[in-house]
Structures are given as structure tokens and as C-alpha cells.
Amino acid sequence: MGLRLVRVDDRLIHGQVVAIWLKALGAHRIVIVDDRTAHDDFLREVIELAAPAGTAVEIHDLATGAERVRDLAAQPEPIFVLLRSPITALRLREAGVEFPLLNVGGIGAGPDRKKLYRNISASADELDAMRKLEAMGTQVEFRIVENDRPVSFASVDK
């Protein structure tokens, strides 16, 4: 099954973090699904440049991305799906993309966000999305890199 991991990280491709995940997952293709990034030429360029050598990077908006990820999930090539928000993850799930786990690696603080755990904050909508995902059978866990101990969303959602 192609979909090795779906991850939420609002910094997208940064430092060694993505390289570590790609290696752990045996994937060489990153599929980013994010409306803002897809429609911002400068941001796209910068993100594409930040990818590790030998990695294919695709950037789609939600409409095209949902279909693309559904297609790729059914193929053998291992892929890594990268999002900026759990709300996008919920939309993907609602569009029929199935994944048993959502890895949340980082969401920055913001005016309407509350800190949940370490570098992960969430707005009311984002919290709601994570709860809905869990109700749909997708486990939500916080983990920055593969070696970290995962922390379940359920344990911090009090």
C-alpha cells in the first residue's frame, strides 16, 4: 500500500526532519496537499528547493490533492503525505482517503490557538478535526521524528 504516512507539520519540509521520516518509511516521494502553498508561487519554489536530494515533491491544492493521494495510495510506490493542518487531513478522509494514523509533528502558536503539547498548538476547529478523525477510526498521535516516543491526542485532549 502506497500511503506510508500522513503528517501534519506547518513548517512542511524543514531541516532534517523530512529526511529522517523518508528514510524510516522507505519513501522517495512527498505529496503536499495545501491550498495556500499550492497557490503561492514563491512558497512552492522554496519548499521544492528544501526537499532532500533524490526526493520527488508534488504540491497540490485540496481539490486535486485528494484525488492524487487516492490514486497513489492504491499503487505500490511508497509515498509520504504532508499537510499543514489537521483540517486538511479530515477533508482527505472525508474524500475517501483512508489512513489508520495521522502523525502530527508541529503546529505553531497563533492568536486563536491553544497550546496542546510541546510545539503543537491547535484552534477550536483544528481540535474538532482531530476529534472527528479519531471518531472515524484514524488514530491521531504527536511525534516530531520517528525515534520520539509518540503521544496520543486522546491523552492530551482533556
Binding site: 512542511l12 531541516g15 514563491f42 528547493l49 502558536a109
Partner: protein, 136 residues
């Protein structure tokens, strides 16, 4: 007088420490038009971009030195450079040698200077053990 501003963009306190150390070596006057913006764990790319943008004076060219190619401070600095146009140049892999060279130069911020600064950074990386051994 240096005809451009220098902005150091890094993870955490690396930028502030580089500026502090450069000030110790070159004197506080050299820190005129030099600022440090460190990425905090709570920062989103958006919040960091705003903090960087606040330090860019559009009426002067700006040289942004980032700590790590591909890291968030670097990616965000590049987005700023691309988007805001003007005269913003970006060099990754900042070390103390390049900071000192950049803040003490009186040359304009152009291709020749960027090339020279990169040379300085590279020449600062030496296998000291080997050099000591071959000298004796």
C-alpha cells in the same frame, strides 16, 4: 560605512549568540544595522516571517545570513527575499567568520561580495589537526 543591513536568521538563539560574539570581536559600533531573529518552538512559518519582515528596512539592501540550508529560518528568509523583491540576498551556513566579514565590509551588497563572503565561510572550515601535524 557598510551600505547594507545584516539580518541573521536561525533556530533558537544561534543568531543572537553570533551577533553577541561578533560585537565582542568587532566592537559594538559594527552592530549598527545588524539584527538577529531566532525561530522559537512556538513559531509558525507565518509568525516567523512577520518577525523577519519587521527587521527589513525597505530603503536599504539587506543581507540575510541563515544558519542551515533547508531549515525553517532559511526557507522563510528565502520566501521573504523572493516575495518582497527589493535588494534582499540570502546566504545559508552562517558561521562567525562570515558574520564578522559581512558586518565590517564597506563594499556594496552585490554578486562579488556574496562570492567573497562564501569563500570566507569555506576558508574558515579547516582540518586543524591535520594542519598542525603537517607543520611539524
Amino acid at each position: 560605512m557598510r551600505p547594507f543591513d545584516v539580518l541573521i536568521a536561525s533556530h533558537g538563539s544561534v543568531a543572537a549568540s553570533l551577533v553577541e560574539a561578533a560585537g565582542m570581536i568587532c566592537g559594538d559600533a559594527s552592530l549598527q544595522g545588524v539584527s538577529a531573529v531566532g525561530l522559537e518552538p512556538d513559531d509558525s512559518p507565518e509568525s516567523y516571517l512577520e518577525r523577519l519582515r519587521a527587521r527589513v528596512d525597505g530603503s536599504r539592501p539587506t543581507l540575510i545570513l541563515t544558519d542551515l540550508y533547508g531549515g525553517t529560518p532559511h526557507n522563510v528568509a528565502c520566501t521573504l527575499a523572493r516575495r518582497d523583491g527589493g535588494e534582499v540576498r540570502c546566504i545559508s551556513g552562517a558561521n562567525l567568520a562570515i558574520v564578522i566579514e559581512a558586518i565590517t565590509t564597506t563594499d556594496p551588497l552585490d554578486d562579488a561580495l556574496v562570492e567573497r563572503l562564501i569563500q570566507t565561510t569555506r576558508e574558515a572550515v579547516v582540518d586543524a589537526t591535520d594542519r598542525l601535524a603537517t607543520q611539524h
